[in-house]
């Protein structure tokens, strides 16, 4: 029996209002597997759904299909710099952000200060990577909901970003660009112009996306009021990033716990306001990402002006990295949320322990809380709105 289900309050299932009906109908709950291979689980994720008809009673995520032993590898590195390519491969969609998180943590441990040119280049790369990640998040989210076209528009815009990355460091997806103490390559002469051109190109594209997808009535019906995450629950689950800001909590590490040169840049923090449904629903999380892209463009425009053109990007790179025994926990704001690196050093050239707190890992643990009582189609919508990357979840 299909009854209209919302996640507003307790789902009233017809078989519950008539006592004894459930037993006499012998209605059982079915276990359906949204298996590791599935078009919209964003990677190899297994969701065990316990459903009563179309209504989900519980969701049990099973992860670990993409576990590549990142932390074990780090303990066997001969050099702290060697961790950077491995860090790239965790959130492979926004690789610059992972590198940024690691070098911020390592530089804090080693007490290295880098020049403004390096800092601003890193900020520009991180913001480009934020836009790239959000484009994939929004495009694939549209695809999960059934709108196939915005995905290709987002990919077309992402190509421009990947072009900039390619001219700077030679790679489109996984860069090994940010090194401890500097960068691997000096940004080319055309770098600033390319970034300015991209900012100019991209601003109308956000409007195009809004017209096509964001304010489409069917899209709003599929996402507004679905998968509501109340702010207290979000904070208790340590959810971060657009998922947290979609619930109305104004918390962005670039503003609240600044690192690098973010304290010198002006930008707004978009927050979900429940315009279309309730605060903390899928539409809010989606809209936070759209507006964050606009804010990233704003950050990049300022950073490009403030970035010095002269300077050696490799001057602060230490020849030998041998930190004193100690530990540090440093966190940065990646497109998915708060990425934390807990680096413990025992005084040797290899890290003793590198623990990564991946935002997707934490955000995914809140999925069952958001999807109980929703329908199967809603689980797809909620999972897409959390925006996970399995590389990060499993490391």
């Amino acid at each position: 029996m299909i009854t209209t289900a919302t996640t507003d309050g307790p789902t009233i299932r017809r078989t519950e209002t008539i006592p004894g009906l459930r037993r006499s109908l012998r209605a059982h709950e079915m276990i359906v597997n949204m298996g590791p291979q599935h078009p919209s689980t964003h990677g190899v994720l297994r969701l065990e759904l316990i459903v009563d008809g179309e209504i989900v009673v519980d969701v049990i995520p099973h992860i670990g299909y993409l576990h590549r032993c990142f932390e074990k590898h780090c303990e066997h590195m001969t050099n702290y710099q060697q961790v950077v390519p491995y860090a790239d491969r965790m959130d492979y969609v926004a690789a610059m952000s992972n590198e940024f998180g690691y070098v911020v943590a390592a530089e804090r441990l080693l007490g290295i200060k880098v020049s403004d040119k390096v800092e601003f280049t890193r900020v520009i790369m991180a913001e480009l990577s934020r836009i790239a990640s959000h484009l994939i998040a929004l495009g694939t989210y549209g695809m999960d909901i059934g709108a196939f076209t915005p995905f290709l528009f987002c990919m077309r815009d992402r190509e421009h970003i990947l072009d900039i990355f390619e001219t700077t460091c030679g790679a489109r997806l996984l860069y090994n660009y940010m090194w401890i103490g500097g960068l691997s390559h000096d940004p080319p002469a055309s770098f600033k112009d390319k970034v300015r051109d991209f900012c100019r190109y991209f601003k109308p594209k956000i409007n195009e996306l809004n017209e096509l997808l964001s304010y489409n009535k069917i899209f709003i019906e599929r996402t507004a009021g679905v998968g509501v995450l109340p702010p207290e629950v979000a904070v208790n689950y340590a959810v971060s990033g657009p998922t947290l800001r979609g619930s109305g909590v104004q918390w962005d590490l670039r503003r609240n716990d600044p690192y690098s040169v973010y304290d010198r840049l002006q930008f707004d923090i978009p927050v979900g306001k429940g315009i279309k449904g309730r605060v903390g629903d899928c539409w809010d999380r989606y809209m936070v990402r759209v507006e964050e892209m606009a804010q990233s463009v704003r950050i990049m425009e300022q950073a490009v002006e403030m970035m010095p053109s002269e300077g050696d990007v490799q001057s602060a790179i230490p020849k030998r990295i041998r930190p004193a025994a100690g530990e540090v926990y440093a966190r940065t704001e990646t497109p998915k949320g708060e990425l934390g690196y807990y680096i413990v050093s025992d005084g040797t050239a290899s890290p003793f322990r590198v623990k990564v707190k991946a935002p997707s890992f934490v955000n995914l643990s809140a999925l069952p809380a958001m999807s109980r009582g929703a329908m199967i189609s809603d689980v797809v919508a909620i999972l897409g709105s959390i925006d996970i990357v399995l590389g990060e979840v499993d490391r």
Binding site: G64, Y237, A238, Y342
Partner: protein
């Protein structure tokens, strides 16, 4: 509040359960807690007006070699904007520590990962099973003395 102040506050409330605090001469100060009182300390830190640590940023298992293990908690307070590091020291004979899942729901998966990787058992956790490794894996991979098994279910592991 600084770590020194929080240490003073905790020592006052919990006495012997708070073991030590290293705040001088280290880039990251911490407070060490006894394993059997972690839950009470966590509840206090979350609910007390002066501390209000409502976010558990990270929970890491540690293997310090020579039979010494540990759990490190990184706490953050969004309203009061301060952070704290808690450490629990364990030995190989007694790898049990209280679970803080009832305090911060995020600890659910973090503790499962610490169990999976180090074999640290969190008492009171509702569903402590492996999370990253397959359910029938033997051994705790991130331990320093972990030997990669030759065969897993008939498949050769190192290739």
């Amino acid at each position: 509040m600084t770590t020194v102040e929080i240490f003073g506050l905790l020592k006052e409330k919990f006495g012997d359960a708070i073991l030590e605090s290293k705040t001088e001469g280290v880039p990251s100060p911490y407070v060490a807690v006894a394993p059997h009182s972690v839950l009470n300390v966590a509840l206090f830190l979350r609910d007390n007006e002066q501390t209000r640590f409502d976010v558990l940023m990270c929970l890491s298992g540690m293997d310090y070699m020579a039979g010494k293990f540990g759990v490190v908690y990184h706490l953050d307070s969004m309203p009061l904007r301060h952070k704290l590091t808690l450490k629990v020291h364990l030995t190989a004979e007694n790898l049990h520590v209280q679970s803080v899942e009832s305090v911060w729901k995020t600890a659910d998966w973090h503790e499962r990962e610490a169990f999976d990787m180090y074999g640290i058992v969190f008492d009171g956790h509702p569903d402590l099973r492996r999370i990253l490794m397959p359910d029938d894996w033997e051994g705790y991979p991130l331990r320093k003395d972990f030997k990669v098994p030759q065969y897993y279910n008939g498949m050769k592991v190192p290739y």
